[in-house]
């Protein structure tokens, strides 16, 4: 959801025009959307296959295009961190001197309607406001209420660089962002940290994956299109496979140089062989045939004439943009006049949308309710369940999954191995994957961390802490009820396993260890005890979410964010309601 102020739109359009980009104002109208903020609407009926926006890649804001591109390159900083730092320098140090400023100043990290309050992701809300999301998947599965170390490290790297550049050659330190050297006041430091986070959040909400050279970038106008969860009208096209040294598509000078060097090497070897030949073997006198000369001359005249014609055409028509050097936004559906034109940011749950983009949408089919922490809690309080969980985690689960995959081979491609309901829309989604790139495709929980990886080679620092983390334990992270209220295979298995009579469990576990366990037993939901086990954990989760729903917000977040938290909790409650129906029949 774009929160671009209407007054900034003209500056953005001018930026695009100055950059010789094409945005079809005859077809598109940018105005307030019912979703909040602005959106892009069809002025007339637009057929599928219409390019609404075309921008040369030199007019998208990537770290590689930024004023400090060479400094970031020298420090080997890339990825989102590079983009964040570049954004901060462009908007606080270079400002009007930067030709990116007319566009970048429209990206505001503060809420203009709310006293300039920073818009932060949930991990940086105060404890009261975090309470609005307690027990949701955002909290329990994605751990998105806990600040990530990488973000803080990114902030520290940015500060170190700012100080280094300042010392080395006097480059101004971004005021209010990275100037903490002489500041003792911890509140002032925190306010800078939060600004840094807010920049990261604003960027993460708009960033597009571009190519091997630019990596990710902010794309003017492209970021005005809102997200549609199932039926986007647009695809974002950018040739990903370019030279990572210069960004050129196809044969660039780097490839050319390489090819020439290879050819020279081959020739050198051939010559080494030739030298051993006797001189007499070579032809002594050669002459050029008159006919050869005449043909050469005729060909050359033809070539020159063609070149002249080509140039005259160019002069009269002007140069066309090379699509390989551009990003395009092109319709994939017919769009009726008056309708909003939607992009897709990917198949994303509301948790992901809120964490990365700062909004939620009603009836999001990618929403799930997750039971990992619920079952972990049960295991902590019950020795018997704990033993079963340990056995399941160490022995049973892998065997079960293997059996499951064999059993349901056709569904194997659904990596989740669950009952998730992939419909037609996904197929459409994959069509433009080769052009890559709507923002993200997989909502794997890891993605949330990935978006913050910075360029340094920091594998050693990134080692996971020893402590048990849910994402390390697939049996825990996959315990879900999907949007339709269906428990997935992992959850069914866990419920069956934990509700068995002790003797039954002992027998069953032995059978499994000897590879003749009746795995089908774990998928059943007609067993009274399993049924009531599931019912019990659903009801407990409902109660917990109900408490969360009833808790109050502080004034740390704005109304829009409050509404998002309610949407998120309500969506999970709705899923639980659907899940309960068959159980209580």
């Amino acid at each position: 959801m774009s929160s671009t102020a209407n007054s900034d739109l003209q500056a953005i359009f001018q930026f695009v025009k100055d950059a010789e980009g094409k945005f079809d104002h005859d077809l598109c109208d940018v105005k307030e959307s019912s979703l909040g903020g602005v959106g892009v609407f069809a002025k007339r009926d637009i057929p599928a296959g219409t390019t609404l926006l075309q921008l040369h890649k030199n007019s998208i804001f990537s770290a590689s295009n930024s004023s400090i591109a060479n400094l970031l390159n020298d420090e080997q900083i890339d990825g989102i961190l590079a983009l964040n730092i570049a954004f901060i320098y462009e908007t606080t140090v270079f400002k009007e001197k930067s030709h990116w400023y007319p566009y970048l100043k429209s990206i505001r990290i503060e809420d203009p309607q709310d006293n300039g309050k920073l818009k932060l992701p949930p991990a940086y809300w105060n404890e009261t406001d975090k309470g609005l999301l307690h027990g949701t998947t955002l909290d329990t599965l994605f751990d998105a209420l806990t600040p990530q170390e990488e973000v803080e490290r990114g902030f520290e790297i940015a500060i170190d660089l700012a100080e280094k550049w300042n010392e080395e050659f006097g480059l101004e330190i971004p005021k209010g962002y990275l100037d903490i050297t002489d500041i003792e006041d911890s509140e002032a430091i925190e306010s800078r940290f939060h600004k840094f986070i807010a920049v990261a959040y604003a960027i993460s909400a708009r960033v597009f994956e571009i190519d091997a050279f630019h990596e990710s970038a902010l794309v003017p106008v492209a970021d005005l299109f809102n997200h549609h969860v199932v039926q986007p009208d647009l695809k974002f096209i950018s040739l990903f496979d370019v030279c990572d040294l210069c960004g050129e598509p196809g044969m660039c000078k780097h490839m050319l140089a390489e090819e020439i060097e290879e050819a020279k090497e081959v020739e050198r070897k051939e010559n080494a062989n030739k030298i051993s030949k006797k001189k007499e073997d070579r032809p002594v006198v050669q002459t050029l045939d008159k006919a050869v000369l005449e043909k050469l001359e005729a060909d050359l005249q033809k070539e020159i004439q063609e070149q002249i014609n080509e140039k005259e055409k160019e002069l009269s028509k002007g140069k066309e943009l090379d699509p390989d050097e551009c990003i395009d936004m092109t319709t994939i559906n017919d769009v009726k006049a008056g309708n909003e034109i939607f992009n897709s940011y990917g198949e994303l749950s509301n948790v992901f949308l809120l964490t990365r983009y700062g909004f939620t949408i009603p009836r999001n089919p990618y929403d799930v309710v997750h039971f990992g922490s619920k079952l972990l809690e049960l295991a902590r309080n019950n020795e018997d369940i704990k033993n079963r969980a340990v056995w399941w985690s160490e022995t049973g689960y892998d065997k079960y999954i293997n059996w499951f995959k064999e059993q349901f081979a056709e569904e194997h491609e659904h990596v989740h191995g669950d009952s998730c309901d992939h419909d037609q829309d996904e197929e459409d989604g994959h069509e433009y994957e080769n052009n890559n790139n709507d923002n993200d495709k997989d909502n794997d929980e890891e993605d949330m961390d990935e978006q913050y990886e910075e360029g340094e080679d920091d594998d050693e620092d990134m080692e996971e802490p020893e402590e048990e983390k849910e994402e390390d334990k697939p049996w825990l992270s996959e315990l879900e009820i999907d949007y339709e209220g269906e428990p997935n295979a992992s959850l069914l298995a866990a419920c069956n396993l934990f509700s068995m009579e002790p003797e039954e469990f002992t027998n069953f576990s032995k059978e499994v260890e000897n590879d003749h366990g009746n795995m089908e037993r774990l998928l059943a939901l007609d067993n009274g005890t399993t049924n009531s086990f599931l019912e019990k954990i659903i009801i407990e989760s409902q109660n917990r979410l109900q408490n969360t729903l009833n808790s109050n917000a502080s004034d740390g977040i704005n109304d829009e964010q409050k509404a998002c938290t309610k949407d998120l909790v309500n969506a999970e409650l709705e899923i639980l309601r659907k899940a309960l129906l068959p159980l209580q029949k």
Partner: protein, 381 residues
């Protein structure tokens, strides 16, 4: 004693290999020139560039000039005057860049990174400074020869001879197969004019763009000169305005160079001054990093609102070389693939320095000295 056998190199600009082939261009032979090619393929591949040295048909003296592109609609009055003189000889002992042989600057292509702007060590800077001093000497000597009646090819000879006299290689020679040792750009020519038999006449303006390679480093500088004879009034006020504006544009841009200045902002200062003087700024050609490579990062556009990447740091070496036009900023290229002229045929002028960013400002490595020919003139109202 036996006679020393002189080495023979293939006359194909894209080849240039040592050869013992006997295949000689029959047309050159008639003109009294020996051009040896490795084989027929080499001849064919290099034919377009090679035939530029062929005399006008029927002429055996080489005195008669001709326009090799009679069907091209030239944008102004200037025409090429062929034949070109054959490729000039660079002595064996002079260190040459890789393109000297076959025209391809492979080393430069391979190592240039869009966002990696070289920062030079003190030792390297000493050498670049020396190259620039030599470059200035060569430019000044060539400029002193500018007068009505001289051909640009004669200027090329001066530049070439003075360059090799200084144990340097003339960088333009065979760079992407550029046929000569200096660029001479007359009147509506924006840049990359090829020295030929064109005679400079009173009232012309001509830019001499000198680059040389000395002990592993390049210098790059140019100036535009008035072609003045006995009658000073032959220089139009338009010519003076465009030349002086270009000179001032470069000066203005240099004033802003210091650590922390972005490369993109230079275009704003240049275009502002150009516009104030009713001139326009060429967009197609940019300043560039220079030193270890003839052309490398950064790219330094001269027009306002450009989005060039990069910020200045001490030890960076680059050129600023605004091309300022009397009329439209738009350019067009001749069928020789080099000469760039204004689309409206109106005048274009250019000045260039090689600059080095220092701790607190910038050093003009290719600076003029008191004896340097040329220099500013009063505008005429």
């Amino acid at each position: 004693m036996c006679a020393a056998v002189e080495k023979v190199y293939c006359a194909g600009l894209q080849c240039g290999k040592e050869t013992d082939s006997q295949l000689k261009c029959p047309i050159c032979l008639k003109n009294g020139i020996t051009s040896v090619f490795c084989n027929e393929d080499c001849y064919k591949n290099n034919y377009k560039a090679h035939k530029a040295i062929h005399f006008k048909e029927g002429d055996e003296t080489g005195e008669e000039t001709y326009n090799p592109f009679p069907k091209f609609k030239f944008h102004g009055d200037l025409r090429p005057h062929y034949p070109l003189t054959p490729k000039r000889y660079v002595p064996e002992g002079i260190e040459k860049p890789d393109w000297a042989q076959d025209g391809l600057p492979v080393d430069e292509q391979k190592n240039d990174r869009t966002n990696e702007i070289p920062v030079y060590t003190k030792e390297e800077i000493k050498k670049i400074r020396k190259a620039c001093i030599l470059g200035r000497e060569v430019l000044d000597i060539a400029a002193a020869a500018v007068r009505p009646g001289i051909t640009t090819d004669e200027i090329d000879k001066i530049v070439h001879d003075e360059t090799i006299k200084r144990n340097s290689y003339p960088s333009p020679l065979n760079y992407y197969n550029f046929p000569k040792s200096v660029c001479t750009s007359i009147n509506e020519t924006i840049c990359h004019g090829i020295p030929d038999k064109t005679v400079l006449k009173e009232g012309d303006i001509v830019n001499l763009d000198v680059s040389l390679y000395y002990q592993g480093f390049h210098a790059d500088l140019n100036e535009t000169y008035y072609v003045v004879g006995d009658d000073e009034s032959k220089i139009s006020k338009e010519a003076i305005n465009v030349v002086e504006t270009a000179r001032e544009c470069l000066k203005t841009a240099i004033k802003h160079c210091k650590p922390g200045t972005t490369f993109q902002e230079l275009g704003d200062y240049i275009e502002k001054h150009a516009t104030e003087n009713k001139c326009s700024v060429v967009k197609t050609y940019c300043g560039h990093g220079v030193g270890k490579y003839f052309h490398c990062a950064p790219s330094v556009p001269h027009y306002k609102g450009n989005r060039a990447a990069g910020v200045m740091k001490p030890g960076m070496v680059f050129t600023i070389e605004p091309m300022i036009n009397e009329g439209t900023w738009k350019d067009a290229t001749w069928p020789d693939d080099w000469t760039s002229t204004t689309q409206d045929g109106k005048l274009s002028a250019q000045f260039e320095h090689t600059l080095m960013v220092t701790e607190h400002g910038v050093e003009i490595l290719s600076a003029r000295n008191k004896k340097s020919p040329g220099g500013p003139r009063q505008r005429i109202k």
